[in-house]
Symmetry: C2
Subunit: 271 residues, 2 copies
């Protein structure tokens, strides 16, 4: 008997009734306060994907982080809002101690064979094997769940804040640790695996955190499985830090150069 991967443990839901279940935060994905947002996103997505009525692959996932999640149990409930011939819409709530701590909307679809066109080009980067993993020491739980091979824009943990803002761009090979074959759950989590941009641009200062995350999935399950456990290439950047709120855009590419997902997020920050 093998122990499930920590991501599968962290996203496990135990049914408590019709489209409701109990989950539990997992220390392997601990963040500064509560769990890594990517693990929460994967948990809410899993609730939908494992529903017997789910019609197919996820196309879009929006997660709103409405409040801090404390270590321990939480309740998840989900609603099938509307199902068409090929597109299906769901909403999900995560409640802890009677308060909504996250909401999500999930769009799933039966993908069909159509004309295909992929104008986007993968950024240049040396092969993952030629990039040294970042030594994170004994940092936060979730940072230990990924091998980060930074090509550009590594976070400056523990360094003095820069005098002038640094670039918000990061280019990085990412893979699960321990290894795990890529699927929609891990891709959803990976779309949040870029350290909040303001840390890189300005150094660690006041409170900060993601408040909403939207991920679009641009590949089917077979394409993700074909990547196996090989690192995927991520690129993230920000365009604006204004009056307490910042953006982030990211894209994730397979070893074979396929754009697997794009995502945007908004985060808050204080001085």
């Amino acid at each position: 008997m093998t122990t499930p991967h920590p991501l599968d443990q962290a996203t496990t839901l135990v049914s408590t009734g019709e489209r409701q279940a109990t989950g539990r935060t997992h220390p392997a994905y601990a963040n500064m306060a509560g769990p890594f947002g990517g693990a929460t996103a994967a948990t809410l997505l899993r609730a939908v994907l494992e529903d017997p009525a789910c019609i197919g692959d996820p196309i879009a996932l929006t997660v709103n982080f409405t409040g801090a999640i404390a270590d321990g149990e939480f309740e998840v409930s989900w609603i099938e809002k509307r199902t068409g011939r090929t597109v299906q819409h769901w909403t999900v709530d995560l409640v802890q101690n009677g308060k909504v701590a996250a909401t999500a909307s999930v769009v799933c679809a039966r993908r069909t064979e159509t004309w295909e066109h992929r104008p986007a080009v993968m950024p240049d980067a040396p092969p993952a094997a030629e990039v040294a993993p970042l030594d994170l020491g004994a940092r936060l739980g979730w940072l230990q769940r990924y091998v980060f091979r930074f090509v550009e824009g590594d976070p400056r943990f523990g360094e003095a804040a820069p005098e002038t803002p640094l670039s918000a761009r990061t280019l990085c090979w990412l893979s699960d640790l321990p290894e795990r074959t890529l699927d929609f759950l891990s891709l959803a989590a990976l779309s949040d695996a870029f350290i909040v941009r303001i840390i890189q641009v300005r150094g660690v200062r006041g409170p900060m955190g993601t408040i909403t995350l939207t991920t679009y999935f641009h590949a089917d399950a077979e394409t993700l499985a074909a990547n196996g456990a090989r690192p995927i290439l991520g690129v993230a950047d920000s365009r604006v830090f204004n009056r307490g709120f910042a953006d982030q855009e990211a894209s994730l590419w397979s070893q074979d150069g396929v754009l697997l997902a794009t995502s945007v997020q908004a985060s808050f920050y204080r001085d």
Copy 2:
């Protein structure tokens, strides 16, 4: 007495109870089937912004277009999911004939004075006054609600489909017609005012439509008002058209070079 702007008419909600109201599609924003998605987005945003409990400016808006909206009345209801000190989360449903035709999540905030940084640079474009408006003839209602001054990537309505895919990029000055001082409602609608990318890339072929739209607002109400009714610069592009679904990313800039909003959307298409 002056007649309200068509956008204000199209987004008017008449209260029918606690956080529920009736709206009505407006012929001025008619699209191929039902209303222009931007008008729907603005309507759902307006429900939240006019709620007495709303704490401040919108930061993020996600609208899922779950089904076709027929011309006529619809019901809108909204829920305050969680309110913190500075950030507030809402969800909204639009129901017509007993079916959910759209859902939304809205993040609002009390913006605070913080360090500010805007690394993004406005794309180069000639001044709006030097770009001729596109003559749209007697096209769909909503296309008549905007002055489109295309610098690059104008739609090829009525032309033969290109033999090889064209660029998905559009650069365009946009303004409301009739004129209207910019606010969050019009900015939400403008974030959906780029014609579905596949038309530009491939020509008009099978059915197509936006299924989910996320807009981030990067400026406060005063900054929007300062732009007045002057055109704003929009740039849109797509990265992937795969097995029935495509993406779009867009950004909208003020006359003064301020990034006002960024948005992403996913659309379906059939051959």
